[in-house]
Structures are given as structure tokens and as C-alpha cells.
Amino acid sequence: MEFYIKVLEITCLHTILVLGAYLMTGLTGLFSLGQGGFVSIGAYTAAIAFLHFNVPFPIAILMAVLMGSVVGFLIGIPTLRLHRDYFLLVTFGFGEMVRAALLHLAQLTGGALGIAGIPKQVDLPMIHVSILFITILIYNLKRSRFGRNCIAIRDDELAASLMGINVYSHKMKVFILGSAITSYGGALYAFLIMFIEPNLFNWLESAKLIIITFVGGVNSIIGAIIASVVYYSFGEFFRFVDVWRDVLLALAVLFVTIFRPGGIFGSWELSLKNLLPWRVKKI
């Protein structure tokens, strides 16, 4: 039973990270390979605050989110104006920079040895509540002006700006929110697995977040969640063939992009309307 709980914890935690990626990459088309940087920032900020400065747990988490948001803002300033491919590579660079900085500031961060002995403060209910909360947040944004603007920007930036959307400002909001969510996930991660090190979340893991979003379908939050749950729980159950699950994931993604480019779930969203077809309410 304990094993299953562990699996669920890891799976759901990664789902928080996928939600952050969904908002940024799926909905708005910002391809960031540097999300690992924010996971680390969140994790290290919370861990260091708690262990070295005796900050109470909730405040430590809050600090992690704030740190992530501020860094997101600073990184966003020069990068959000860049062409998509440049943005991708620059955010990758950011991820690597964070890793290098963590290695270098060994006094504070423990360097390559990382930080051990973080007490387990995070349990399943906390993660579930977090996911629920974040999902509702994103869902509300998605179905109103914010979400429409995201999709418009993703589809056609020029037309979006000519419809009155301040593209740069909107991207910044998305990026900060996404970074906040990712840092939050990172902070929880530290108090879940109790040990963190600079290689915690490398660019490949960041890429996986993006890929999972595409498998689920970029227009479907529930698609991203389900894809994430399937992938990460599969990985935990089959730990011994861990690397093969990535091969399978890759094959699944290729299959989806070639044969079902909308993603497995397309634009289907879990909502009352979809579950109760006979209670026809206006959208």
C-alpha cells in the first residue's frame, strides 16, 4: 500500500509541473526548455529557507514561489521578445545556468552534494489539493479572456496584436504564472523526496513536460493531466525498465503528432457540459 502511495505522490507532483508547462507551452506556445531551472529554484529556496534560516514550512514555500516569480520576470524581460526557437534555446541556457550556479555556490547549496535531510512535510492530500487548486485556476483562465488571448497568440501573434492584445505583456503574465507554478512544484518536491541536488531536473525532463502536454492535446487541460498521470505512474510501476518508458513515450508522441495532431484528447475538456449531455446549458 505504501508503494502505491509513493507512486501517486510522485505522479501527482509531476502533474503540477506539467500543468505549469501546459499553461506556458500548450496554451500559449512558449517553448521553454528551462523549466528545470525553476524547479530547482523552488526546491532550493524552500529547502535553504527552512533548514538554514528556520523559516516555517508554509513561509518557505511562499518564498519559493515568490523567488520563482521574480526570476521568471527577470528572465522574461529579454527573452519574451525573441523568436520562438531562440526563446527555446535561451531558456535552455537559463536552465543550465541555474545548474551551474547551484554547483558553484557550494557554501549555500552544498554544491554537487546537494542538500540532504529535508524532512517530509508534503503528503498526498496536500498535493491533491494543490493540483485541484491549480487546475481550477488554469481552467478559469482558459475559458475566459486570458485563455482566448493565449490561444490567439499561439496561433497568430500578428493578428493577435491587431485585435488589441498586448502580446509582450500577456506573454509575461503567462511566463510568470507558469514559473510560479513550476517553482511551487519544485518546493513541494524538495519536501517530498527529502534530497535535492543540482541535476534534479535537467533539460530532458523539461522537454518531457512539453512532450506530455502535446500528447494530451494542447487544447485540453484534462488531456495534459491524464497523459501526465499515465506517464509518471507507468514509470514508477516499471522502475526497472525506466529508460524504456521514455522510448515508449517518444514513440507515442510521434504516433500522436503524425496521426492525431490535436493530441489524444484534442479539444475535449472535462466540464459539466461534456459529462451531462442531456442538461444542455449554454456554453
Partner: protein, 254 residues
């Protein structure tokens, strides 16, 4: 009232003069046409007015405000909207959402209110939806509410683009080749619609067009461009006789 004033605007692309000292004045409630052979720089003029490209020289004034250096979204907010030569609807937003997107600038609620579905957000969302639906009805598109734009027949896509441009209650509407690809029946419909909305919404319209029947029928003034320069300006019937214009279109026929 002068709605738009372009003062000798020019745009150069890598040595090629796309627009050369173009100037025009547009009044309220007026329909004007910009015509000229292909490549004459007509769409570039639109791009300059709407801030897609910065002007190299010259100024653009809209309702007494200097909009020359403003960014596109600010210009739209002030009251200029447009359609495109190659339709640019948002492919992943359904028909209703394509319209709702265009009304976003008129709403005032913040991101935070959206996240928690605050009352102002809900109210303004309602407003947005009602306006969008009314336009769908106006353009005969209500049965397509859930459809995605590129599944619509071409003529209806054009209508949707026009509806989208009207959502934010513009004062000036720029239409880039609105008749392209339409059959004669659809073009007659378009003429009727444009005249109707001009009166009902008190709009000023500038049309870039190749289709002569359309421009001759509804434009009060025409500006003719060739190689980026304006070669003639006047009422349609005068333009039709203008030697320089005929030469530009037909070449040197003597």
C-alpha cells in the same frame, strides 16, 4: 471631422521603396478605396497605419492623435481595426471565440478576477458573449457557433473576419481585398453589408481592392498607387478616365 491623416509616409525595404511619400486624408463616415496594380504597396500602407511596420518618414494621425510610433495593439484600442488579404482567423478558436477575442480590449476585469470568477469578470464575459452572438446573428453565422473557422466555406470565413473587425466598435475599418475569392452574388451581398454597417455603426472605411465593381460602386474617393507612389486621387468616375491610371494598369498602350 478628420478621422485619419497620413502625412507623406514612406517605407523602404532593403533598398526597395514600397511606399513613397504617400499622403491621404479620410473623413468620418466616408468610404475610400486604395487601388493599384499588384505590388503597388497598398497592403504596406495598411501595415504602416496599423503599426505592423514602423514608417521610415512621415506621420500618421488618427482623430487628432499622433499614432505614428504606437504599437499595433494600442492603435486597435484607439479604434482602428482591419481584415487581411490572406484570412487570418485563429484556427484553434471556434467561431464564437474568434469574435470574443476581439472584444477583449473593451473589458476591464483583471487576471485575478478571472482566476476566481469574480462578479465583474462574469458580467463582462456575459457582455462579450452576448455581443459576439449578436454579430453572429447579424452575419448569418449563428449555426456555426461551435465550428472552427477553417472548416467554414470561404465566403463565410470572410464574413467572420469582418464581424471580428467590428467587435471592438472601431471608428475606422481597414479592409484588405475583402472581395478576393468571392463569387458575384457574394460580392453584391458584401456591397450591401458594407453600406449598411457604415450607416448603422457610423464607420469610416478604407478598402484596398482589385475588384473594380466593388470600389466603383461604394467608394466616394479613390487613391491610386503605383510602385509605392500615389499617381491619382479623386472620384471613381474621374479615376476611370485618368490617363496615368490606365497606363499603370494596362502598360504603355500609346
Amino acid at each position: 471631422m478628420e478621422v485619419l491623416k497620413a502625412i507623406t509616409i514612406s517605407k523602404n525595404f532593403g533598398g526597395v521603396s514600397a511606399v513613397d511619400q504617400f499622403a491621404m486624408v479620410q473623413q468620418e463616415n466616408e468610404i475610400t478605396g486604395i487601388i493599384g496594380p499588384n505590388g503597388a504597396g497598398k497592403t504596406t500602407v495598411f501595415n504602416l497605419i496599423t503599426g505592423v511596420y514602423p514608417v521610415d518618414t512621415g506621420e500618421i494621425w488618427f482623430c487628432g492623435k499622433n499614432i505614428t510610433r504606437l504599437s499595433s495593439h494600442r492603435i486597435t484600442d484607439l479604434g482602428i481595426t482591419r481584415t487581411f488579404q490572406n484570412i487570418r482567423l485563429f484556427r484553434n478558436l471556434n467561431v464564437l471565440d474568434n469574435l470574443r477575442v476581439a472584444y477583449g480590449i473593451k473589458t476591464h476585469y483583471t487576471m485575478w478576477e478571472e482566476m476566481v470568477r469574480g462578479s465583474r469578470a462574469k458580467r463582462e464575459e456575459q457582455e462579450t458573449e452576448e455581443l459576439a452572438r449578436s454579430y453572429l446573428a447579424y452575419f448569418g453565422l449563428d449555426q456555426y457557433v461551435d465550428t472552427f473557422p477553417y472548416n467554414l466555406p470561404y465566403g463565410l470565413q470572410r464574413r467572420l473576419e469582418l464581424a471580428r473587425a467590428l467587435m471592438a466598435s472601431p471608428k475606422l475599418l481597414l479592409l484588405d481585398e475583402p472581395a478576393a475569392g468571392l463569387n458575384p452574388k457574394e460580392i453584391h451581398q458584401l456591397i450591401k453589408t458594407l453600406l449598411k454597417i457604415k450607416e448603422e455603426k457610423n464607420l469610416s472605411i478604407i478598402i484596398v481592392e482589385h475588384h473594380m465593381e466593388l470600389v466603383m460602386n461604394i467608394c466616394q474617393t479613390l487613391h491610386v498607387l503605383n510602385f509605392g507612389k500615389k499617381i491619382a486621387e479623386g472620384e471613381p468616375k474621374d479615376i476611370q478616365q485618368n490617363k496615368a491610371v490606365l497606363q499603370a494598369y494596362l502598360g504603355d498602350e500609346g
